[in-house]
């Protein structure tokens, strides 16, 4: 298509591209994935667990995925994306250079159980996106260049949302949106649950990330955000919150695929297994 500038108007010379623009421009083809339907086929890595008693158990339950996580040893804390206790990846099949908008939604009716094990026993539950070579899902090791590296030899970028469950006696939770080798920190205020009868633990989180090819050919995760609906102080479930990240994350190769990742880890050691269950839906388009 050849573009001709005529005064302040840019005209396209190919007929099919010269119509007036309306918003939305049209259907943007992409991928819709229900992670539970993919039968937990992603890769699993245990990077911190050092004893046979601890770890994570992943179960498919209809359209939902349940993850149970235990950590009885004080060395099994999660400080970085790469030091979660267990994580899995799913290949979306979409390339970085397609400039996709990537969204992952996690919806739960039960939040994190068991309740009451708050404070030091808080569960870190993380979802997000990682870019890595096509066919490279078995090789992804978020620790291959150290815990604080934004990229490694097996992956080129990460962007993630950590949900920190059961942070207090009210069974509230908090959210952080981070990138690369950042620490698991920068959490929001409390997203309040209704823990008195009639209880309401229904939360929905939707993380959206924009991948962008710059004019100089660099590939980036640019702005991202996570919107949440939560029960709130009245338990009606009408509360919402938005947390954004404006830090660019460089991606080294436009041919790399966008993978979905889900991970669990623990803030500190505790004897009680923490479980989080819900439905994950992914749109990459």
């Amino acid at each position: 298509m050849k573009l001709i500038r005529d005064g302040s108007t840019i005209l396209a010379t190919s007929t099919q591209a010269s119509a007036s623009l309306v918003w939305p421009v049209g259907i943007h083809n992409g991928r819709l994935l229900n992670l539970a339907d993919s039968h937990l086929s992603g890769n699993t890595l245990f990077v911190v667990v050092t004893n046979p008693e601890d770890g994570a158990e992943w179960i498919q339950d209809g359209e939902q995925i349940q993850v149970a996580c235990s950590a009885s040893d004080s060395g099994q804390f999660t400080n970085y994306m790469s030091t979660h206790m267990s994580y899995r990846f799913w290949d979306t099949g979409v390339k970085v250079k397609e400039n996709p908008v990537c969204t992952i939604e996690f919806a739960t009716d039960t939040a994190c159980t068991p309740y009451g094990n708050y404070g030091g026993f808080t569960l870190y539950h993380t979802m997000g996106f990682v870019t890595a070579p096509a066919g490279g899902i078995k090789n992804i090791d978020l620790r291959d260049s150290g815990n604080t590296a934004n990229a490694g030899t097996s992956f080129s970028a990460t962007r993630w949302v950590t949900m920190r469950w059961n942070v207090d006696a009210g069974h509230d939770m908090q959210v952080a949106i981070r990138q690369g080798g950042a620490t698991v920190s920068g959490f929001s205020g409390d997203y309040i649950a209704d823990h008195t009868a009639p209880t309401n633990y229904h939360y929905t989180f939707r993380q959206t990330e924009f991948l962008h090819t710059r004019l100089d050919g660099d590939f980036r995760f640019t702005n991202g955000y996570v919107t949440a609906n939560y029960p709130g102080t009245n338990g009606n479930g009408t509360y919402s919150a938005v947390k954004t990240i404006s830090t660019d994350s460089t991606i080294s190769d436009g041919d790399h695929h966008v993978y979905v990742m889900v991970a669990v880890g623990r803030k500190a050691a505790g004897s009680v297994v923490q479980t989080v269950k819900g439905k994950y839906t992914v749109w990459v388009q």
Partner: protein
């Protein structure tokens, strides 16, 4: 050392050129005290006094050019305030 500050949208004032004064680290840190903000150093939450002790050698440094805006946090709940986050890498 990475310093992350969470500062109240409404209650911040008086940093750097906004009032024609320098944006010292001390001045940025003090803004977290207005409206219940937060200071994290290398991922660990610190009180204002703890942070001032840890960063004592930088307190009078003008860090205006080192500050990166990294995100926001907003709520529909009118009882909760809105926030923004800054990151400062000190070496």
């Amino acid at each position: 050392m990475i310093v992350e500050l969470k500062i109240n949208f409404v209650k911040i004032f008086g940093i750097g050129s906004l009032q024609g004064s320098s944006g010292t680290l001390q001045r940025f840190l003090s803004q977290t005290d207005a409206g219940g903000g937060r200071i994290e150093i290398d991922g660990q939450e610190k009180t204002l006094s703890e942070a001032e002790t840890m960063l004592s050698s930088y307190l009078s440094t003008d860090i205006t050019d080192l500050v990166d805006y990294i995100g926001t946090e907003t709520y529909s709940d009118p009882t909760l305030d809105d926030w923004f986050s800054l990151e400062i890498v000190l070496s």
